[in-house]
Symmetry: C2
Subunit: 163 residues, 2 copies
């Protein structure tokens, strides 16, 4: 926190309640020809707010010592955390400070994916498939494109492809 | 809290953070022929959630000992608090537990309207106009219909009506 900042530090329980309302744990799997598996797993934690509350996003950024505040779209800003070591710290925080909405289910899946990435499983086709299936259970249950990609189909056993 | 409830009591700071994200302080002014002023001032505090989190709404209801959980629309439920004595208690809670988003501005206006109603100012045309102007500054800054009603226009000084 900067010396000039007059506001007291945020309360961890306030942060947890606010994230229960406004936070998002998200994982995308994007095509990326230069990566080992041709697909990139991109975990992200974000909080989106109207730009009038950008100062609050910066306070949360200082609270976590992580992420950056960027434009989301139009008049919306987001605190976005993508670095793996910062995300691991976020996971530890929410292990200590339990989320109470159904977002806690997304959080658990998110945490599983991070553990999987730490074990470098996302660099194998079996691991990547496992991660994609975890993502499919998250948020709005959108099936990752990876699961319908030629890379995945090629690797499926014949019996599964014929179903 | 019921005897069978296994969950610990909510933390006031968690509740504050959650309300900063998901709560809504709202005042409507509706035409109501049987009321003294023909218009009814209806202050309301609500939290809307997907029905999968209805149990959490009930926990918040038990936390405040106030309100009821009802259908909002489709698959959404809301905790709705409308009773004046319960709303006064909510105001006291958020005076002790400061909201941090711009919602705190709505809260202050909401609190001013409640004070005004306690003084029974909503039963006079001057008071009702004052309340309507406070409402106009809240939420999405929608002008209350009352301010354009014949009751208001009739009572405005000529100079104002000719503007």
């Amino acid at each position: 926190m900067t010396a000039g900042n007059q506001q007291e530090r945020l309360d961890p329980q306030w942060v947890t309640g606010f994230v229960d309302g406004e936070g998002c744990f998200h994982i995308s799997i994007n095509k990326h020809p230069r990566m080992t598996m041709k697909w990139q797993v991109l975990p992200e934690f974000r909080i989106v707010q109207h730009s009038r509350d950008v100062e609050l996003l910066r306070e949360i950024q200082r609270f976590f010592h992580a992420g950056k505040v960027v434009v989301n779209r139009d008049d919306r800003k987001e605190l976005r955390i993508r670095k793996l070591n910062e995300l691991k710290m976020i996971v530890k925080f929410f292990e200590r400070n339990r989320l109470r909405t159904r977002k806690s289910k997304d959080f658990k899946l998110f945490s599983e994916v991070l553990t999987s990435m730490e074990r470098r499983e996302h660099l194998t086709s079996v691991g990547l498939r496992k991660i994609a299936n975890l993502c499919w259970r998250m948020n709005r249950k959108v099936k990752p494109r990876y699961l319908d990609s030629s890379e995945t189909l090629r690797r499926k056993p014949l019996s599964e492809r014929l179903r």
